[in-house]
């Protein structure tokens, strides 16, 4: 934590690529959490995945809500690691691709043995899962304590930091892989409320949509200023090239 020099997300080690099965994903594709009944592990190379769960409604025998409580628990970006056992049982957990990309897949038992014999792999797995846990802590805080605008700003900040690229005009451009519904389920918001908030951000000039599923942020600092979690997110990203504005 304190003087960790490896805070910057290392790329997926080459050693891994040789051992795992390469899965090409397309939008909406579901990745089974086990292979032949054996637990699987995934390492994202490109694109993004999301883990979402759906719990049944039990409002004291009211038959009000139609299709359960859905929550997108986490969004996995390149470099992220996911083990099947991370998904809770009895919760309709699904790992779904939200964009085209490539994912490495292993059997957990094989991956574990591989890691045991290859310190670099073990270290990669440990550091990556730890970082993702820290990220999840921030996300938990966002869902539990932030208001609508702060949540959206936090999510956009995270996307910008992780997948953003400097645009010619000095802004920051990145993909918005999640649909409004998925984004809302990720942020613990209503899709309608989310849409309104996005519209407000767009109206205020902070955000624009050059095309569907893409976003352009003019002034990243102004966006980050809306999110109480921005400093923490920057720390996690190693505050690399993208955001060295100061």
């Amino acid at each position: 934590m304190p003087s960790e020099t490896a805070a910057v997300a290392e790329p997926v080690p080459d050693v891994l690529a040789g051992h795992g099965a390469v899965v090409r994903t397309r939008r909406g594709q579901t990745l089974p959490l086990s292979i032949d009944g054996r637990e699987a592990v995934f390492v994202v190379r490109t694109g993004a995945l999301m883990l979402h769960v759906t719990l049944p409604h039990v409002t004291q025998s009211h038959v009000t809500q139609p299709q359960g409580l859905r929550q997108v628990v986490s969004v996995l970006h390149p470099g992220d690691v996911f083990r099947g056992a991370f998904a809770p049982q009895a919760a309709s957990a699904h790992l779904t691709a939200v964009s085209r990309g490539e994912v490495l897949r292993f059997r957990w038992s094989a991956f574990r043995d591989f890691a045991a014999s290859t310190p670099a792999v073990q270290r990669y797995y440990d550091d990556r899962t730890a970082e993702q846990t820290a990220r999840q802590a921030i996300h938990t805080t966002a869902i539990g304590r932030f208001d609508c605008q702060q949540r959206v700003a936090t999510f956009l900040t995270e996307l910008a930091l992780r997948t953003g690229a400097r645009a010619p005009n000095g802004g920051l451009a990145f993909e918005l892989p999640l649909s409004r519904t998925d984004m809302a389920d990720y942020l613990g918001l209503n899709a309608d409320t989310l849409s309104r908030t996005m519209s407000r951000l767009r109206a205020s000039g902070l955000l624009s949509h050059p095309e569907r599923h893409r976003a352009l942020v003019r002034d990243f600092e102004a966006l980050a200023a809306l999110s109480p979690a921005a400093p923490s997110l920057r720390a996690l990203c190693g505050d690399d090239a993208v955001c060295k504005t100061s």
Copy 2:
């Protein structure tokens, strides 16, 4: 995930006890996340810890809210593992004991080497962190999608499953280690709202407080029925002796 036979939480391996420093905790004590500047790892033996973060308020230069947005990210029970790197930076993260107990403490580098040479330790760490991640997923869903009563019911269900003991009258008794404020911060609720909800549960006869910091649940099934996450929580606990009501 599918046919995992190791779902039941194994106790802390004896091998660990010999290698770590034993820290006796008292209520409110903060455990530094690093030792001499080196990252630490903790394994809870008895008692409970909580990880909480506090983010500054940034409501567009309003000086309205006094003391930041506080969130209790997770509560650690006996057997749980915590690595310093799990805490996000720049978020005033603290690991605090919420009850008297015993915690094993290691330097992460030493623990890692130890695990590398002792498969049982590696396996314990991997399985425990994976289970905690799955738990966190449920908690995220609770915060993001459940209403007030469902959140409280979910928390009580989890406590009952993890630390509950059969009471003579057939009920389930357990400790409530968190203060109202901490509990509210854990559930993403207002302390006032939480108090009201608890009062309602007490009034409905589901819950009673034999003494401060303790709770007694008459009908566990009725409580579980209030939480959409109950089946998932039971699966995580291995649905052991405590809850074999069926």
